[in-house]
């Protein structure tokens, strides 16, 4: 079945990714991430000086500021701030930088659905660029169930979301082994573990009416798609490092 946006041919196809790291000069780390027509720019400052009232004695304070494309920040933006902050807090090794601030600003640049997922992916790329110590990386995908066909659509556009019965935002982490011949077996074991989705979901937010079965189907489809996001993030980091190492290799 073809999708409403006409550029995609299957329900599980994602829009093309685009990313760019280290594009702002004042921030300590920055990244832009696009899912087709949706784009989010994220900047990270830190570990930096923290105000006394925000200071935590044993760990870094994580502050997330989400800014909308149009108008003043509202309830939806506050909710997005909380979602990102609470997902990242356990992921960032904040005890390594006590009494400091890690400030994350998430700016919507283009909105064509799935802004929260786009923001998650932009944020992780910006944190990697800033060199903030992390337990693992994450990848986020949104899916929806069509109200007419009951089909699961991945990475829907605004137009498609208008016909949704329910929408589901997922964030998955990436606990894999370093690719190397010595531990391929172990890597395989872990892949199987992750197929059963155990302990891999970092964030899940569903709205609308759906059955238990539908939820698990969405989670499964989302997990597969998140692997593609993880792979993309790895390639993005690799490309950046290759550029840095050009002189030493030659």
């Amino acid at each position: 079945m073809s999708r409403l946006d006409r550029t995609r041919t299957s329900a599980h196809q994602l829009r093309p990714f685009f990313s760019s790291q280290n594009l702002l000069n004042r921030a300590d780390g920055s990244a832009q991430f696009d899912f087709g027509g949706s784009s989010v720019l994220c900047s990270v400052v830190g570990p930096a000086e923290v105000k006394i009232r925000q200071e935590k004695l044993d760990k870094a304070t994580i502050e997330v500021i989400a800014r909308p494309l149009v108008g003043l920040p509202g309830v939806a933006d506050k909710a997005r701030e909380r979602s990102i902050q609470e997902t990242l807090e356990p992921l960032i090794l904040s005890s390594l930088h006590p009494r400091t601030l890690v400030q994350i600003v998430v700016q919507t640049m283009k909105d064509d659905g799935c802004i929260l997922s786009t923001a998650f992916n932009a944020t992780i790329l910006a944190l990697l660029d800033a060199g903030i110590p992390l337990q693992s990386i994450l990848g986020s995908v949104t899916c929806m169930i069509d109200s007419e066909t009951n089909e699961i659509l991945l990475d829907p556009t605004t137009e498609e979301l208008a016909r949704s019965k329910s929408t589901h935002v997922f964030v998955f982490d990436n606990k894999t082994s370093i690719a190397g011949s010595a531990n391929k077996d172990q890597a395989k074991d872990q892949d199987q573990d992750q197929d059963s989705l155990e302990g891999a979901i970092l964030y899940s937010d569903s709205t609308g009416i759906f059955t238990e079965n539908e939820y698990f189907e969405c989670a499964h489809a989302g997990f597969k798609a998140a692997q593609a996001v993880h792979g993309f993030i790895r390639t993005a980091v690799q490309k950046k490092l290759e550029k840095e190492y050009q002189q030493t290799q030659a």
Binding site: L24, E49, K110
Partner: protein
């Protein structure tokens, strides 16, 4: 977080370099940094890069009821809140003096110069008018936010298309973009800001200061002109006193810059229009 002051060495080096006729980034005194304009997929979204300074402008519109004393006038509003993304010194919900000044300057240059025909935004007098909103997002701060923001705002307004409407008696139909080609706003003229910074008791003056140059400067002045050699706004808020001749000299420099920038904006708009035509076919 406060902005860290530059070291004495940086300060003195910058001033010495200016005496030797050079700027830190290799520019001449009256050079702007490289200006880049990038349009989004939607109408009215423009990202402007002026060297390392980056601004995003997004225009949106809605239909609202006009004020009773001005029944035929539409609205034009600007949102210029400075985001901590541009610099950690900007805090959410607390404006510094610099922020207020930047916001005021942009309003003055864009709104009070009557660049946009607000009467043309009327749909039904006393009942329905368009309200045009320009959101300006500061993404990266390497000095001269005002000029970059003004270029972004006016380019976004020129690029923007509002939905077409038909009025039959009392009935107002707003057509979607698919039904009818959207219509551009009527922009009277293109005001462009040119900011000067002064050093050495006003003896040396430069155009388009970087962040470091802004930190070291002794005074500044922002001039808003259009291509017809009309001064739309002039703002010199404090700083060292200046000679009248120097202000005239500034206008002569500014008019050259305004002509260049206007031409670049027009060229960018034309290229984008052609691209859109091709993709529609």
């Amino acid at each position: 977080m406060k902005e860290a002051d530059p070291s004495t060495n940086e300060r003195e080096f910058l001033l010495q370099a200016l005496k030797d006729g050079a700027r830190i980034d290799g520019r001449k005194f009256y050079d702007f940094r490289t200006l880049r304009l990038e349009f989004g997929s939607e109408y009215g979204a423009v990202e402007v890069q002026l060297g390392n300074t980056r601004v995003l402008a997004k225009v949106s519109c809605e239909v609202i009821r006009p004020y009773t004393d001005k029944p035929t006038e539409g609205f034009l509003t600007f949102n210029t809140e400075l985001s901590p993304m541009a610099s950690a010194a900007f805090e959410v919900g607390r404006q510094t003096d610099e922020e207020v000044l930047v916001s005021r300057l942009i309003e003055k240059a864009m709104k009070r110069s009557r660049a946009l025909d607000t009467e043309g935004l009327c749909i039904v007098a006393g009942e329905k008018v368009w309200s045009i909103r320009v959101d300006i997002h500061f993404l990266d701060h390497d000095g001269n936010l005002v000029d970059a923001a003004c270029i972004a705002a006016i380019t976004a307004l020129l690029h923007f298309r509002r939905p077409d409407v038909t009025v039959v008696g009392e009935d107002v139909t707003i057509h979607t973009l698919e039904q009818r080609n959207p219509v551009p706003l009527s922009v009277h003229h293109i005001p462009i800001c040119v900011t000067f910074a002064f050093f050495d008791n006003g003896e040396r003056m430069i155009v388009d200061p970087t962040f470091l140059e802004e930190q070291v400067k002794e005074g500044d002045m922002t001039m808003t002109l259009n291509v017809h050699k009309e001064v739309c706004a002039l703002s010199k808020a404090g700083g060292i006193p200046m000679d009248l001749d120097q202000i005239l000299q500034c206008t002569r420099v500014a008019i050259v810059k305004v002509t260049e920038i206007t031409a670049q904006i027009q060229a960018a708009l034309d290229t984008d229009a052609k691209k859109r035509q091709v993709s529609r076919k």
